[in-house]
């Protein structure tokens, strides 16, 4: 009888030990850490997609990939990106200083619909006066982002900022374009220069080079470097490493719904296409980035990038259709 009791006890241990895993799991789930599972968008994206937090209080997250390598970041630069490797959960703690709606998103190209891997964090808290927010430039200007805007007389060769710098030496300063050029396209500025009497002796290409020099002078090397990094991690997969619209994801992009600007049929925008790019303004490019392509497969980046990041990206995009030597 003692032997049978001992055998039963051992059986209890054999059954009980595995069941302690469930008990430990129960304790883990009550530890206040919120588990967020990541799967490619085709099989569910983030679970849960909506998280809640209180301003000023830490939100502890355990991020778990259930398939491939994902990344996790909060929009508007609220937290540094984390890699989430399959089978290796990572924990992070976020504290939001202000109530509001924040976007979290995947930072790794995990699949064709990678950009759809977005979720929101609703942060509650005492009402605070909202930070003054300026409307995007394309809204202020009332631009139609979807209207065609080809350059009438595109340059015969790629405009060069360095050649333009040499041209500018022989130009009176009053002729050089100045002020905020974000609402104008390079083609518009080129047309203005062409019509100025002081440039009558100059070739069309020299004027395009002068435009390139002007655009380059309106930004900084730091902004271009930041823009290049943002482009590489967020845009290159579709638009291609060099900006020719030939990224690895391009073949899987949906056909555009009647879009003209910068889009060849069924492919992402080609930023090296002078005719299409030089007719656009920085405001249009910013609007495209913020709003997305509306049916073309181009994601909206408004909740993701800060304003400075967006402009840095726009500045970098110009280097695809005009030659800035630093960021070839």
């Amino acid at each position: 009888m003692k032997a049978h009791s001992l055998a039963l006890l051992l059986l209890g241990v054999a059954l009980g030990l595995p069941l302690t895993l469930l008990a430990a799991r129960g304790l883990q789930s009550r530890s206040g850490v919120v588990e967020v599972h990541a799967r490619v968008a085709e099989t569910g994206g983030w679970t849960p997609e909506t998280l809640s937090a209180v301003a000023g209080k830490p939100l502890r997250l355990r991020l778990i990939s259930d398939d491939v390598v994902h990344g996790f970041a909060i929009g508007q630069g609220q937290a540094a990106p984390l890699d989430v490797e399959p089978g290796r959960p990572v924990e992070t703690t976020l504290t939001f200083s202000r109530p509001g709606r924040y976007v979290f998103f995947c930072t790794r190209w995990c699949g064709p619909n990678h950009w759809r891997m977005r979720g929101t964090i609703e942060v509650s808290g005492p009402e605070v006066s909202p930070e003054p927010a300026s409307a995007p430039l394309y809204l202020t200007l009332g631009l139609d982002l979807d209207a065609p805007h080809p350059a009438d007389l595109p340059p015969a060769e790629r405009p060069s900022a360095s050649r333009g710098a040499q041209v500018s030496q022989s130009m009176p300063a009053t002729v050089l374009p100045s002020g905020n050029l974000r609402s104008e396209s390079p083609a518009q500025v080129w047309r203005r220069l062409r019509e100025a009497p002081e440039t009558a002796a100059m070739t069309d290409q020299e004027l395009w080079d002068l435009v390139a020099y002007t655009w380059r002078s309106a930004t900084t090397t730091e902004a271009l470097v930041e823009g290049r990094a943002l482009y590489a991690s967020n845009c290159a997969a579709c638009h291609g490493e060099g900006g020719a619209g030939d990224g690895v994801m391009a073949p899987s992009m949906p056909a555009p719904a009647g879009m003209e600007i910068g889009h060849a049929a069924g492919s992402p925008a080609n930023f090296r296409d002078s005719q299409r790019m030089l007719g656009a303004s920085s405001a249009i490019l910013q609007g495209k980035i913020l709003r997305g392509g509306m049916g073309t497969g181009m994601p909206y980046w408004g909740p993701i990038f800060t304003e400075a990041q967006t402009w840095a990206l726009v500045d970098y995009l110009w280097s695809r259709s005009m030659d800035y030597e630093e960021v070839r």
Partner: protein
């Protein structure tokens, strides 16, 4: 051929007769099985971070195919956790038999029906193995699929135990038990009676019907006439129930059963081809360079998968046995007088047991040593929930002995081919045909070996 009686050593005999070592091993296996089952249903879906996938299909498989089957034959069956629940329910006991007031064993629980006579063969096991093989690309990589298979197996095992007597599930249905039995014939270990005359004279037949000391043979065998390992589960019940101390566990020359002409059957012959063909097919799907084949094996229910199913079944059930049949027909033309076709086909098929076992060992070596390092993280974090119980969760994948594996595989396959050749010649001699009868069979074995070598090393 001389044998070495291990049970002549009192300590070994005492260990084998005692129920405790076996029970403890069974409980360890059961605990591991339960963790695997929980992990398969509740753990991470990432296969290489899930205890179920890594422990069942890498660690357990390595233990089974590289060690237990070649060395102990059906040794695993004596501690396998799958039939335990059903068997304990059937017996109403974890240890020895429950006795009634008169000191006699109580009848087993459940309906206790005899397994249908027409199903007393391994055709069903051939079917369950093939059924599993058709889904194996998914089962071996997706924890939920593994969980489904394990759950179905254990439920069927319990139900069968409560409806039929003894270990009917293990003997007639278990997809693993079928091939373990086949390859147990090659093992260097056997359970046999010392003097069959004592068994003949023993009227109680306690080894078959049970006694206060133990249960009647769970595998429905009469140990007194046991001449092959195929269906002996090495559970040691006969060692416990024999009142004359007439049962021994012996070391012997490996493969002795293959040369025993009695009891050769078509279902077992076909099993040899199913297993050899299975090793070739698995090598092609899992290790071969054909992406389309892998994709087809994964896309269950799709047209490519149906084509894969058709191809796999045709290869293992028609092409391989058909090639062998042609070899047998040719051998019979060369050998005069020719033995009967069916008898020759069935008998010579047993020569493929060593080659099949070698093919499975070689195939297993290729992925076991490559993937064994996945074991260290999963024992620390069995469910993939971010735990680190033993401090090994962060260890990275690292393949072991990569330069050592190809020559070892070649050696194993060469050894298997040589063993098959010797066995085929001996069987052909038994049939009265000699080498003339055997050599076409050797060509089929050679072609199979070259095929496996090419898939594994080419």
């Amino acid at each position: 051929m001389s044998t070495l009686d291990l049970t002549a050593h009192p300590t070994i005999k005492r260990l084998l007769r005692s129920r405790w070592p076996q029970l403890i091993l069974q409980l360890i296996a059961l605990a591991g099985f339960l963790v695997a089952l929980l992990a398969s249903w509740l753990g991470t879906p990432i296969g290489n971070h899930n205890f179920a996938i890594v422990v069942v299909w890498i660690a357990w498989w390595a233990l089974l195919m590289l060690l237990l089957v070649p060395a102990l034959g059906r040794g695993w069956c004596s501690v396998c956790p799958l039939p335990l629940a059903g068997e304990w329910l059937q017996r109403g006991s974890l240890l020895g038999p429950r006795l009634d007031v008169s000191g006699r064993p109580r009848p087993p629980l459940g309906l206790g029906r005899r397994w249908p006579a027409r199903l007393r063969n391994i055709w069903l096991q051939n079917g369950t193995f093939l059924l599993l093989a058709l889904f194996s690309a998914v089962v071996l990589t997706q924890p939920s699929a593994t969980g489904l298979v394990l759950t179905v197996i254990i439920l069927v095992a319990v139900i069968v135990s409560l409806v039929f007597e003894r270990r009917a599930f293990c003997r007639y249905l278990c997809p693993v038990g079928g091939f373990i039995g086949l390859y147990a014939q090659a093992a260097p270990l056997e359970v046999r009676v010392t003097d069959p005359a004592i068994c003949t004279a023993h009227t109680d037949k306690s080894c078959y019907v049970g006694s206060a000391e133990g249960y009647g043979c769970p595998w429905d065998l009469f140990p007194g006439s046991l001449t092959k390992n195929t269906y002996c589960g090495t559970c040691m019940e006969c060692l416990r129930t024999c009142p004359y101390d007439n049962v021994a566990v012996r070391l012997r020359a490996p493969g002795s059963d293959l040369l025993n002409p009695s009891g050769r059957r078509l279902d077992e012959a076909y099993k040899a081809f199913i297993m050899l063909g299975g090793a070739i097919a698995y090598s092609a799907v899992m290790l071969g360079p054909w992406g389309g084949l892998k994709t087809a094996a994964f896309e269950i229910g799709s047209l490519p998968w149906l084509a894969y199913v058709g191809g796999l079944l045709a290869f293992v059930l028609l092409v391989l046995p058909g090639s062998f049949l042609l070899a047998v027909v040719l051998g019979r033309r060369l050998a005069r007088p020719a033995p009967p076709l069916m008898k020759t086909f069935v008998s010579l098929a047993y020569a493929f047991v060593p080659l099949g076992l070698a093919a499975w060992i070689a195939f297993s070596l290729s992925f076991v040593l490559t993937n064994l390092s996945y074991l260290w993280p999963v024992v620390s974090d069995p469910m993939g929930w971010g735990w680190n119980l033993l401090g090994t969760a962060a260890l990275n994948w690292h393949p072991y002995l990569t330069s050592f594996v190809p020559p070892l595989q070649a050696l194993v396959l060469a050894g298997g081919l040589g063993w098959t050749a010797v066995t085929a010649r001996r069987i052909a001699e038994q049939l009265g045909g000699g080498l003339r009868l055997a050599w076409p069979t050797l060509l089929v074995a050679l072609a199979s070996t070259v095929g496996v070598l090419w898939l594994l090393l080419g």
